[in-house]
C-alpha cells in the first residue's frame, strides 16, 4: 500500500465513494477539496454502453467549451498564399513553412493543435507519424 499524504487522505474523506452526486455538487466538491499549489485541470470520464470494437458504435466528436479550457492553445497551420495570411490574421501561432517542417521532424513541438487546408494535406501526410503521437 503506497503511503498517502495527509492532505490527500483529507481530500478523499470529503468525498463519499458510494454516493452519486449532482453535477454541480460534484464540481463544488472537486473545487473545495483541491489541495495542491497549482491550478488543477478538471477531467470528466464517462462510461458509455457502447462497444467501440464495432465500427458503428464509435463515439467521437468535438465540442467548443463555453468557458474554454483555461489554457492557451498554440495553433500550427498548414496553408499557403492567401490562406496563410488569413490564418495569421485569425491568430495562428505558426505557419508550417519548410523551415518549421524540418524542425518538427527533429522533434520540435511548440504547438498544441494543427490545422490544414485540404490542398496541404500532402505536406501533412509526410509528417503523419510524428504528428499522430502529439495531438
Amino acid at each position: 500500500m503506497p503511503k498517502r499524504s495527509k492532505k490527500q487522505i483529507e481530500a478523499q474523506q470529503k468525498v463519499d465513494r458510494t454516493t452519486q452526486y449532482g453535477p454541480l455538487d460534484a464540481l463544488e466538491l472537486a473545487v473545495s477539496s483541491s489541495y495542491v499549489k497549482f491550478d488543477e485541470t478538471v477531467d470528466v470520464a464517462v462510461r458509455l454502453g457502447v462497444d467501440p470494437r464495432h465500427a458503428d458504435q464509435m463515439v467521437r466528436g468535438t465540442v467548443v467549451l463555453p468557458n474554454g479550457l483555461g489554457k492557451e492553445v498554440k495553433v500550427l497551420v498548414f496553408a499557403k498564399g492567401e490562406k496563410e495570411k488569413e490564418a495569421l490574421d485569425a491568430g495562428a501561432d505558426f505557419i508550417a513553412t519548410d523551415e518549421v517542417l524540418e524542425k518538427i521532424k527533429d522533434g520540435w513541438f511548440g504547438f498544441d493543435k494543427a490545422i490544414a487546408t485540404p490542398d496541404m494535406m500532402g505536406a501533412v501526410g509526410k509528417l503523419g507519424r510524428v504528428l499522430d503521437q502529439e495531438d
Binding site: 464517462v46 454502453g49 458503428d56 491568430g91
Partner: protein, 94 residues
C-alpha cells in the same frame, strides 16, 4: 494531426483557429468504452465548470449511436488532476 473528422482540415481557417483558441476539445471513446476529456481548471469555479461539463455531456448524448443497446451513459466521474474521483449520478444530467 489535422483530420477532417475533427474539423481541422478546412478552408475556413479563421473559424477553425477561433474555435481551437476558444477551447475546442475533441474526444473519442477508448477501447473500454470510456470517454475522457478535460473541462477546465479548478480556478474556474464550480459554475463555469458545470457549463462546460453540460456542453460536453449534451454532445455525448447527441452522438449516441443508433446501434447501442441498453443503458447509454453508465457512469460519470469527475476528478481534478490530483484529487479524488467524484461520482455523478447519470440520471441527473438529462
Amino acid at each position: 494531426m489535422p483530420n477532417a473528422k475533427t474539423g481541422t482540415v478546412t478552408f475556413e481557417l479563421a473559424k477553425a483557429i477561433e474555435e481551437l483558441k476558444a477551447g475546442k476539445i475533441d474526444f473519442r471513446v477508448e477501447k473500454a468504452g470510456i470517454v475522457h476529456v478535460p473541462v477546465g481548471k479548478i480556478s474556474f469555479g464550480a459554475e463555469k465548470l458545470a457549463e462546460n461539463v453540460k456542453a460536453f455531456l449534451d454532445k455525448i448524448l447527441a452522438l449516441r449511436p443508433a446501434s447501442s443497446k441498453g443503458v447509454y451513459v453508465k457512469t460519470i466521474t469527475i476528478s481534478s488532476t490530483m484529487g479524488p474521483g467524484i461520482k455523478v449520478d447519470p440520471l441527473l444530467i438529462k
